[in-house]
Symmetry: C2
Subunit: 215 residues, 2 copies
Amino acid sequence: MKLAELSERSGVSTATIKYYLREGLLQPGRRITATQAEYSEEHLRRLRLVRALIQVAKIPVSTTREVLSALQDDSLDHNARLGTAVWALPHGPAQDEEDPATETARRRVDTLFERMGWLYSRASGATSPAYGMLVTAIVTLERLGYPCGIEDLEPHARAMDQLAVTDLDLVERYGGSPDEQVEAAVALTVLYEPVLLSLRRLAQAEESRRRFAGK
Amino acid sequence: MKLAELSERSGVSTATIKYYLREGLLQPGRRITATQAEYSEEHLRRLRLVRALIQVAKIPVSTTREVLSALQDDSLDHNARLGTAVWALPHGPAQDEEDPATETARRRVDTLFERMGWLYSRASGATSPAYGMLVTAIVTLERLGYPCGIEDLEPHARAMDQLAVTDLDLVERYGGSPDEQVEAAVALTVLYEPVLLSLRRLAQAEESRRRFAGK
């Protein structure tokens, strides 16, 4: 397809597509004349992912480029890349202070991985952005005087462990080549975050009505 | 306690506390001399909540003021305010277009509430920010070509329904007066969001290793 059709089908303006091409977020099309290139379904798919990361999840362009290059790391077998790509998604400012609160939080997270049987996270956890995000969140909760012990973390981890089965089923059902599945996993991870957080707030409102109604 | 002690115990600078006082996010202390006021444990508690909302959850000052005033709505019984306050937490830009995709997403959410037996959400859902956030997320997923049918929403809703029991147990265990519990519910809702999202990414990485390792 031509650039105009790629723009129409993706809902991304031609100016923005050209910007993504210049930034290397989208591979160049197959050149057919001096001024025109031909784009494939693969370009469309990649463009949807880039849009999910940049426009929806507000991930900076430079970080998006890193996530995309992790997707294409041929040193990993195709399907292992799926886990790695989700695991490599960036988060907010890192907790890099080496203070006692951070150390305590780290030990708690390691105990959690142990209890959950999360062997992969236990082996490589400390280098994952998701690990940093979790440690930062625990430190913040405790600094503000709210509890976040291992007994509070574990039910949350169990719920996410169950839901990961559903999430991966969704990725497999979405189908396509291994490449497409890795991209879908990253996009679905970030795009389902507001789904999950809004459902959590609604469920909490329901539960507090059930518990306290009329009191 | 004096302003200096309030600052020390909360970890919020005196300049920021004075700003919160001017903005009406914190009730004035009991004046003891022309230049000094006395602050209570209640001020400390409120200050922790304000800090969670503004500095951690990045909720704007004006919106924080609205959330706080919902907490003090005496037309609701004490415990019903807990659900209302969480439910009133703001979200990103609203989906206010009246297009067919939004209508379809709204009907899907209504069906979900029906299936989940979420009576309170069914009765008042459309006015909740969490409802708007959910509708927007569904529209975005489908626009980008990713699935988000009722069969995808339901397992997420069931997981959050289970977790809400744990979340409310945590609020009750945190203890204190009904006022303190409402504040803790709001703070814990926003502060546990990064905990949940990071655990979800770690769980997905584990599940994809389990499923695809060596393939």
